[in-house]
């Protein structure tokens, strides 16, 4: 894209042609206060908060609807701009209930932010405030407080432009204007919680999150949703070792600014019913002694030339690293074990927006590693040891119990207690994607990173580490200390990943098989 030179508060910066002044200022490190503009919803120009002074134009202009061209210079720091911005903010407070102490948005509210940086009036606002509806459930997942609404229309535009469902509307006019749904037509589309994200104030809040946590306590890590094969980019927000919510993270290649409602709730297994210690026949054991037991069985199989009596059942729920480690474990450590796995999850809903029917985050990774997606071939004929990695095949498909029973030992590597862990002779705790670095490959073949957010729970370890420790009992090792080490091997040994360099995946990932170096699509 063509670049142009502009000046922001006297500082020259080079930006892409066609940007509006809010985006251009951001590149220059200047924040122009605004409510209605949202990069995913376009310009509406109603809040009037983003007024700036453009050289050569006598009237203040709204930054959201002014666009850069070469040589353009504008300021956000003049007395006039500051005064007018404070004026607009004061108007917004005129009928605002000022209930920050009990507001969920407190801490991430633009009104509050700008009030602190600009405002100082209150005493002038001595006329009666208008009252509107408070604490109204506008849908199964979203609560509305119409008094806090600044009427920016972001939620309306979201439902009109992104989902096309059109539930939200501003009705009446003048200062009687109020945000609402049509009576008896609740906000219940599959993306309804995005309205909570785009709402710049505490008017729309998530029922799941309401009052659970003051947001300023939360920490945030870049992560991915594992709800389906789209792999929406998210912020994983957590505190005290617990994940509180997912919020969509911008990635224009994958999910723009959005994620689906069901996907948002997929964080719960990261907190609940965790398998965080090793269990051997129903008893808690230390990890080393449990690993030793598995290692011994494996060693016997290898030493007796019966590698093919071992089977490794993998899952498209696993990270690429887990899958690669499992593949190396089966093919190199054991040299001839059966490995494969498949989609045990029922197909979900697919739509035109984000949701994919394939409910696994890494089906494509499984395919790229050349692993069979057919569990039958892996399980048939039974054998000595069955290593089940991730997910809950037995819970999803109880019919597999018969096939499992044909193995002498069933070992489970997973992060949650479930039907499979209960059935396994030994269950070993591995870190879920909240507790390690790694990647998933989405349905389009985009390799995307997730980042470690929390310290591993209990005795949990990164699955390649556990597999490495088991391998040690056969006198072999992987030698991977980190994801990077693993990826160095992965890139060398797997053609499908040859063009992708972990170090340059960046925040937005890279398309596999595009033939381009991965860095080209990293930002």
């Amino acid at each position: 894209m063509a670049k142009v030179k502009i000046q922001v508060n006297g500082r020259e910066v080079e930006v892409d042609e066609g940007l509006n002044l809010i985006e251009a200022a951001r590149i220059a490190g200047v924040e122009v206060p605004h409510f209605c503009y949202h990069p995913g919803l376009g310009v509406d120009g109603n809040c009037r908060q983003c007024l700036v002074e453009i050289d050569g134009i006598p009237k203040l202009q709204i930054a959201c609807n002014s666009f850069v061209k070469d040589g353009l210079a504008f300021r956000t720091d003049t007395e006039r701009v500051t005064r007018m911005q404070a004026g607009v903010l004061e108007f917004l407070f005129l009928n605002h209930p000022l209930d920050c102490p009990i507001c969920d948005q407190s801490g991430e509210c633009l009104l509050q932010d700008y009030y602190i940086s600009n405002g100082k009036y209150e005493s002038r606002l001595d006329t009666d405030k208008r009252h509107k509806r408070k604490a109204v459930p506008v849908g199964p997942r979203v609560m509305l407080d119409a008094e806090r609404c600044v009427l920016c229309s972001r939620c309306v535009r979201f439902c009109d432009k992104v989902t096309g469902t059109g539930e939200m509307r501003i009705v009446n006019r003048g200062n009687r204007a109020e945000i609402t749904t049509y009576p008896d037509r609740p906000l219940e589309n599959d993306y309804s919680l995005c309205t909570v994200d785009v709402c710049p104030v505490g008017a729309l809040t998530s029922k799941d999150f309401r009052f659970r946590k003051r947001v300023w306590h939360l920490q945030s890590a870049k992560s991915l949703c594992t709800g389906c094969s789209r792999g929406c980019n998210v912020y994983m927000e957590h505190e005290g070792g617990k994940v509180y919510r997912y919020r969509p993270r911008e990635n224009m290649h994958v999910n723009d600014f959005w994620m689906c409602d069901p996907g948002r709730l997929t964080y719960t297994p990261l907190n609940d019913e965790r398998l965080d210690v090793a269990i051997v026949t129903g008893e808690e054991r230390t990890l080393p002694e449990s690993i030793e037991q598995v290692g011994t069985w494996i060693n016997i199989a290898v030493a007796s030339g019966q590698s093919d009596s071992v089977a490794v059942l993998v899952s498209p729920q696993s990270s690429t690293e887990t899958l690669y480690a499992a593949k190396r474990f089966a093919k190199d450590i054991l040299g001839g074990a059966r490995i494969g796995g498949g989609n045990v999850r029922p197909a979900g809903v697919q739509d035109e927006i984000l949701r994919r029917a394939d409910a696994n985050p890494n089906s494509k990774g499984l395919e790229m590693l050349g692993l069979s997606a057919d569990p039958a071939a892996v399980l048939s004929a039974g054998g000595t040891v069955l290593l089940v990695i991730d997910d809950d095949p037995l819970g999803m498909n109880p019919d597999l119990a018969g096939a499992f029973g044909k193995f002498e030992h069933v070992v489970y590597l997973g992060s949650n207690e479930n039907a499979t862990s209960a059935k396994a002779e030994i269950a070993l705790p591995i870190t879920p994607h909240s507790e390690c670095d790694g990647t998933f490959v989405n349905f389009e073949g985009r390799v995307q990173r997730f980042w470690k957010a929390l310290t591993p729970r209990g005795d949990s370890l990164w699955s390649p580490t556990i597999m490495g420790r088991i391998a040690e009992f056969t006198g072999q090792e992987f030698g991977w200390k980190s994801v990077r080490d693993l990826w160095a091997d992965l890139q060398k040994t797997e053609d499908a990943f040859a063009a992708i360099d972990y170090a340059s995946l960046g925040e937005v990932g890279a398309a596999a098989g595009s033939g381009q170096p991965a860095s080209a699509s990293a930002e």
Partner: protein, 432 residues
């Protein structure tokens, strides 16, 4: 003093019918225009110096010139018959008395600009004017003045009368366009301007009824003749709607530049009961107010009024006598603006309600002295910060009322009631 160009047929028997209109030479100018090159018509309108009569006074020929000549999309004309500016009622007269002149003006304008479809956006409250213009359009279709191949060379034109439903803001040209598209009438951001992206995403001309109705006259008599009335910079005649405390309220077509005094004291017969003129809002409620004295010394043309710190606006003149309380009058006007703000821009949505409440409070004698400066500061924050100029239209009169009649406002502070009227008004929130 009066010059009857657009009002020449008023008072003719059944002047609104096709038969009556044709009897006085109606639709002859369509023929003349069809014989002219469209470009030449635009040029003629430019030379006439005709300025838009809806309020902003933008030169009509120039506006037409902004419409792209070549366009893949059809072009549209929206005739603004929303007439909602308080004190203005001249378009109603034109629609009631001479609707065919509007249809004729539309045909010529569309021919000149290459327009395929025209809508007449008429305010919802209008009953009789609506029936008259509907009937006129129907008659014009039946007679072949509208429809397809009007000039024998493939010029098609369809005209539809579209009824509003009660919203002042639909008079603002982009609010009108939104409303015509079946939405709330909330003005659009500009740019893009309607001439390029207007109704249904197509190039669009929006003109006031009076503006369009001036076109047949200009075709008939030429630009030079048109300029014989009015001043150098404000040529032609203008319809003024005069109301308030004058003896003969009504619509007067006068040459621009006529002294305001002549209109008020001669044509309208002066102030009722021979009282003094305390104040005059000359161009519709949205323009700054003049004191009676200022009004008696100003001429009614764009430049003189600008020099006097006000505007010609829509020509809706509201005259107030010596007994009128200015705080009360402002309160009445602010009730209107707060009710009519479309509500999308923060400064207008909140500001109109805020200043209204403050002025209500002042009127009731419950205000505080600092409210006056507070009002001026609020209006300062409203002006120039919004999508359309409704916010300015509420702020400007407020400023001018307070500046020109400050003593009266101060006299209300702490008085417990209106000291002029001796009681306080009972302002009500609108039922709607």
């Amino acid at each position: 003093m009066e010059i009857k160009r657009l009002t020449k047929n008023f008072g003719n028997p059944e002047s609104w019918t096709l038969a009556a209109y044709e009897k006085t030479g109606g639709y002859q100018m369509v023929k003349k225009a069809f014989a002219m090159d469209p470009e030449a018509i635009i040029e003629l309108v430019k030379q006439s110096g005709l300025r838009g009569r809806g309020g902003a006074g933008f030169p009509t020929g120039m506006k037409w010139g902004f419409v792209p000549k070549q366009s893949d999309k059809p072009k549209y004309l929206c005739v603004n018959a929303d007439e909602s500016e308080p004190g203005t009622f001249k378009d109603r007269y034109l629609l009631e008395h001479d609707p065919h002149a509007l249809v004729e003006g539309i045909i010529i304008s569309c021919w000149a600009v290459g327009i395929r479809y025209a809508y007449i956006y008429i305010r919802g409250e209008f009953g009789l004017p609506y029936y008259r213009i509907e009937a006129a359009v129907k008659e014009a279709y039946e007679k072949g003045y509208l429809g397809s191949n009007l000039n024998g060379k493939g010029f098609d034109l369809d005209v539809t009368v579209h009824r509003g439903a009660g919203a002042y803001i639909c008079g603002e040209e982009t609010g009108l366009i939104e409303s015509l598209e079946g939405k709330k009438g909330q003005p659009r951001l500009k740019p893009p301007f309607p001439a390029v992206v207007g109704v249904f995403g197509c190039p669009t001309v929006v003109n006031n009824v009076e503006t369009i109705q001036s076109i047949p006259w200009i075709i008939e008599h030429g630009a030079e003749e048109y300029r014989k009335a009015g001043t150098e910079k404000s040529p032609g005649t203008k319809l003024f709607s005069v109301s308030g405390h004058v003896k003969r309220p009504g619509v007067y077509e006068i040459p621009l530049g006529l002294p305001c005094k002549t209109l008020v004291h001669d044509l309208c017969g002066g102030i009722i009961d021979g009282k003094r003129q305390k104040a005059n809002i000359v161009g519709g409620s949205s323009v700054p107010i003049l004191t009676g004295e200022e009004a008696d010394n100003v001429d009614l043309d764009y430049e003189s009024l600008a020099a006097a710190g006000t505007m010609l606006g829509s020509g809706g003149m509201i005259v107030m006598d010596e007994d009128t309380c200015m705080v009360w009058a402002l309160a009445v006007l602010l009730k209107f603006y707060a009710h009519e703000s479309c509500g999308q821009c923060t400064p207008c949505r909140e500001g109109t309600g805020w200043i209204r409440n403050l002025v209500y409070r002042l009127e009731a004698g419950d205000g505080k002295r600092e409210d006056l400066d507070k009002l001026l500061s609020i209006t300062g924050n409203m002006m120039g910060t919004t999508i359309c100029v409704l916010a300015d239209a509420a702020a400007m009169p407020t400023e001018s009322f307070i500046k020109k009649f400050r003593a009266e406002f101060e006299a209300h502070v702490g008085a417990g009631r209106c000291p002029i009227r001796g009681k306080s008004a009972h302002f009500l929130a609108h039922a709607h």
